[in-house]
Symmetry: C2
Subunit: 199 residues, 2 copies
């Protein structure tokens, strides 16, 4: 029998994707589930339902709650959190770079470093020099990677991943999809998604 | 020291409030936390943010997901679930009756019976004869209770409870608020809310 598998759909601007990215490694290992990290963009999906920014900005009460909820969760997990002035951040470059990393096996490490910079240190991941700094920290040739990330074929690949997310019914991040097509939404559903993948 | 306490803000039209209503009794008992059930209406709160129905109707992808998520949760807890044609249901009468029940100590039992009728049997709780039937099942004088529920002072009380919910920052249901004012949103946060109440 094939090893159980789970697709982890993540958006670099998403606060709860940060928590999931920190938790999924150990939980998946314990569960014996192979996880594929699939970066995508929520922006086009939000736009399709009439939102031009995060629902946490559109609905201020929900936004205030989300940041307080994040504080409590990060505190309980011992994760750093700094509230962002600019939210959501522009996550396109990070997502494009992650797709390059996927082909070379450093996408998970890169993703966690992006989230730590963004939500742990309140750095702007929309700034190419921040992404370059993260890549250098991972001993990658930042200039070369960013050039390949911005090439037309890689841009098209991110668009196609985002379209695939939309086709699969994804409307938020993080989302998890099992091999048999069950969709689970939110960091809260990570354990349930892993359990389903193992059935 | 006073026994730890938690306010459980519930909306009778809310699917996830059903799950929380089924779970909170045993969990609160184990945690040694006293729970006060506080029915309110989400309608006015949704209207204030520009919604004229449930977000699960406004955003169909989210709605489809919610019903599937409910199926999985109800199955895992052994709870009955029938998908409603009419959603959300009109919950005003149920909430008014529950306030009468609160004063007489049968509000929890009534609440669980309402949720079972609505989500377990797909009955219309907006229909006064359904509410009367539930009251009769609890050996209450249905006609008398409904009359008192529809009296001006009780209607005003529900409006004031809903305003209080809004003032407290509540934007969805179920919500939980500890004595020191921490807000937790969603059935997923029930355990966290109980743990906070005990701190």
């Amino acid at each position: 029998m094939a090893r159980p598998a789970l697709d982890f759909w993540l958006e670099y601007a998403s606060t709860y994707s940060y928590i999931a990215a920190e938790r999924i490694g150990a939980l998946a290992r314990d569960a014996g589930v192979t996880v594929r990290w699939r970066p995508f963009l929520l922006g086009p999906i939000f736009q399709a339902q009439g939102w031009n920014t995060s629902p946490f900005n559109i609905y201020p009460g929900k936004g205030r709650y989300m940041w307080r909820d994040m504080e409590r969760i990060c505190q309980s997990l011992g994760l750093p959190l700094k509230r962002l002035e600019l939210f959501p951040q522009n996550s396109i470059l990070a997502a494009r770079v992650a797709l390059i990393g996927f082909g070379e096996g450093w996408d998970e490490e890169f993703s966690r470093a992006v989230y730590r910079a963004e939500f742990g240190e309140a750095r702007n991941i929309g700034d190419a020099t921040v992404i370059a700094g993260i890549l250098e920290g991972l001993k990658r040739d930042a200039k070369d990677v960013i050039e390949r990330a911005q090439a037309a074929d890689n841009k098209a690949r991110l668009r196609s991943e985002t379209e695939e997310a939309q086709r699969l019914g994804i409307f938020g991040a993080p989302s998890f999809i099992t091999s048999d097509g069950e969709l689970f939404w939110g960091n809260d559903r990570l354990e349930a998604a892993l359990a389903w993948a193992k059935r």
